[in-house]
Amino acid sequence: MKTIHVLATTLTALLCAAITALGWAALQGVSEMTGPYQVVPDSPLVIVFRIQPLAGLFLCLLGVSGMLSAVYAIGYHNEYRARRYGILLDLGILAFILAMAVVLLAANVFTFMLGWEAMSVISFLLVIYDHRKPGILQSGLLYAIMTQIGSAFLLVAFLILYAYTHSFDFATFAAEAHTLPPVVQSVIFLCSLIGFSTKAGIMPLHIWLPRAHPIAPSHVSSLMSGVMIKTALYGFLTVAILWFGGGAMWWGVTVACLGAISAVAAATLATRARGIKQILAYSSIDNMGLIFLCTGIAMLEFSLHDIPLGMLALLAALWQTWNHGLFKTSLFHGAGAVLYATHTDSLNRLGGLARSMPKTSIAFFILLLSWSALPPFGGFSGEWVMFTALATAAAHHLHSPVGVLDVIALLALFFTAALTAWAAIRLYGIGFLGQPRSDAAQDARDVPRTMRIALWIGVTLTLLSGLFGASLIARLAKALSGIPERVTPVPAALTNGPLSSVTVPTVFAVIAGATVAVWALVRLAQGKTRTRTAPTWTCGGERTPSMQYSGNGLSQPLERAWPLVLTPLAMRFVYRPAYASVVHSATFFRKLQSGNVRSYLVYLFATIVLLLVIARVGGGVR
């Protein structure tokens, strides 16, 4: 049992190292093909792999995130191993990472869909891993249904492309896609938008995400939130930018608007969700929203032939993808640590964890800073680049109608940032600070060392990518310089601000230096701090943990002041009608199922007659 576990973990780690190396090579500009490997002779079922610059960043993210999760799993699996079915989880993670790598390396439709479907199915199985707990199967099923709807739309898009180019090869698509009739292009774009945004959790197709992520084992949530939803972005970028070069103007506008709506609405929902993992899941939607917002602006700029601005926005989207992937992976690991220690992730049952599990909570605090886009961490760097890209675009288009979209995008960015800070303060302030609200939180202890190591590596990585992000962005810009078919240098707007390699380290040094200087001066002038402990002031009454503000209380002002955003529009206008029509048609067709054997015989007979007629008529025509 133990040997298999060690073997699986080692394999996963090796695989992740290989994937990271591949990704790094792709970022260096390596572009190579392997294959074709024929699955069935003389058929389009051919497997072809290709590494290309755009996939480089995603591969690196997959490798790093997978590696962290593999290390984390050593400690985290204790609980599952005790129940004697931990090994499947180990193998599932391995297969999941492999499937995502296939998606990122695919060079034709068959390989891509193979990886995509494997990724969906394996992640579905991993989500329902704890299927004996109530409610998990339903949420998992919702995920399965949504992801299959998405895949269906993707398949339609690919088949339309095949119908026009007579090839399943991505290289052919890239070469010929922009010669298709505009209407066909738009249909393909819409299908791929629906297909990919279902997986990416863009509103209104997000409903599976806040249900599926919280119930999965935490490192599975990490991989799903950190990487899997990004593979959808990769697919979308491939179609919209690599193949169609940004497309028509309204494509970009549509994508940007969807992204802006997702960002603000999901960030609002994140401020009122009850469970830590649910908050993080909503925050993944809002980050994907911001990323799609930047992608939309990039597409718009490409379609206006403003290549440098488009590149800037595309870089912003990709850089935020990397940073969000890093900190969200580790945040889910942190949430898993809380679950591991307390067996609950409901804010209203937590509290006081900063005192009972200090080592874990300090790591979580730093990740939280990165999440709230505060200097000098990765999230800050990502948001700064996004701000620069959007502000530069807004300045450029200030006197044209396009500028209005840029201003809206900026407003969405600011609102999302403020709402994210709210969610982060609520998560940490209620969940980790104050008095414990339950015995479980009271008795929490620091988690096993491997879990903490994974957390601290994540912390280090997000700090490093915040401090020295400039060089990675420069590398990214260089790798992408061929898109779309025009050589572009690193956008000038970045070199003064976020891209200058000294900026963020200086900021870090100044803040840390000022903080330490203040401490030292106070210490020098007034001596050591004399402290006394006393109970928190409660106006003289008896003090109970329930007197503290709860998670619901802290978000109540928003619900009261801003009820409009919380209106479940998608539920009312999309999902309820869809569900109702499925039930309605099912009731209608149930009339056929009388249960009477004779009527089934009639059906059989009628079907055969019909088939014969069709065969006869069809044959006659031919």
């Binding site: 600011f414 600070l433 503290q548 503000y549």
Partner: protein
């Protein structure tokens, strides 16, 4: 050198500005009021006192007082106070960095409040977050409205745009002025949004986080709040009335800059005292409406340049 002296100047005059506003407010209301040097004496007293920590407090309560002041000083280093040259400023004075540092200090303050498990802090945190939700977009958009016509997203550029543009397009400057003033009243915890003189739970916003702090921690936190107030005044000057800021390192230019800065701060303080003296506290849920108005003005300022 200029950068460090700017930060030191802010550090030194901040308590005095707070004292001046309180004194003038009292005068306007017909009271004699405390001496303008009172905040200095309070700080000295608090620094010497013992710290009483809540029994629920964690490492957050020990870290935040220092971190908060460090962050505010870092933000001060982003702002052109005396000289408009981008060189000495942190990250060339990017507004994104400046506002992120202030957001960081807000986050650390709120967490400090929640750390003791006090219900007052929770109440104040909810309210402050509600305000900040509208404050952050407003301040961003107002600053961009001034800077974007020349493509500037950093304070030196905004300063230049304000110097060049203000006579040409007074609409932008005046709309931004009103929007930023609205933001300042909220961010510095002034009437009609927050009452700095009471500790009544029904009205408290900013005070509630500091309720459990004492001794040198309270002194550090109060001091950083006072510096933050001067920082917000400076933002207003940089964006809307950059008179007197020198681009030269000569002694004469510098002394004019210092003199005009102090005068402007006193003027802004007087305006705040006047507003405080004549207005009553609003209901909490009336504030978002007022802030939405400020945001609308900021957006209008942004569009004003394109339309007018």
């Amino acid at each position: 050198m200029i950068s460090v002296s700017q930060v030191l100047l802010l550090l030194l005059i901040a308590p005095f500005v707070q004292g001046y506003v309180q004194w003038l407010k009292a005068r306007i209301q017909g009271r004699r009021g405390p001496s303008p040097l009172r905040p200095w004496r309070d700080l000295r007293k608090q620094f010497a006192k013992e710290v009483v920590l809540s029994d629920a407090a964690s490492w957050i309560s020990r870290l935040v007082p220092y971190l908060s002041l460090g962050l505010v000083l870092g933000a001060a280093a982003c702002l052109p106070v005396l000289s408009g040259l981008p060189g000495p400023l942190l990250a060339s004075g990017s507004i994104f960095l400046f506002l992120s540092l202030l957001a960081f200090s807000r986050l650390s303050l709120l967490l400090l409040g929640l750390d003791s498990g006090s219900a007052f802090a929770g109440m104040g945190a909810g309210r402050d977050l509600l305000f900040s939700l509208l404050v952050e977009p407003t301040i961003f958009v107002s600053l961009l409205a001034v800077g974007l016509p020349t493509g500037a997203t950093a304070f030196p550029g905004i300063l230049r745009a304000a110097t060049v543009n203000a006579p040409q397009n007074p609409a932008v400057a005046s709309l931004a002025l009103v929007a930023i003033t609205g933001v300042i009243l909220v961010e510095t915890g002034r009437l009609p949004v927050d009452n700095p003189d009471t500790h009544l739970e029904l009205t408290m916003v900013h005070e509630s986080f500091l309720l459990e702090s004492s001794g040198r921690y309270l002194a550090l936190l109060t001091w950083s709040a006072q510096i933050r107030q001067v920082l917000w005044y400076t933002v207003l000057f940089d964006a809307c009335c950059p008179w007197g800021i020198s681009d030269m390192d000569t002694g004469a230019g510098l002394s004019i800059a210092i003199l005009s800065f102090v005068l402007k701060v006193l003027l802004a303080g007087s305006a705040v005292a006047l507003i405080e003296g004549v207005s009553a506290k609003w209901r909490i849920f009336a504030v978002p409406r007022y802030l939405t108005f400020a945001l609308a003005l900021a957006v209008a300022a942004m569009l004003a340049d394109a339309i007018l």
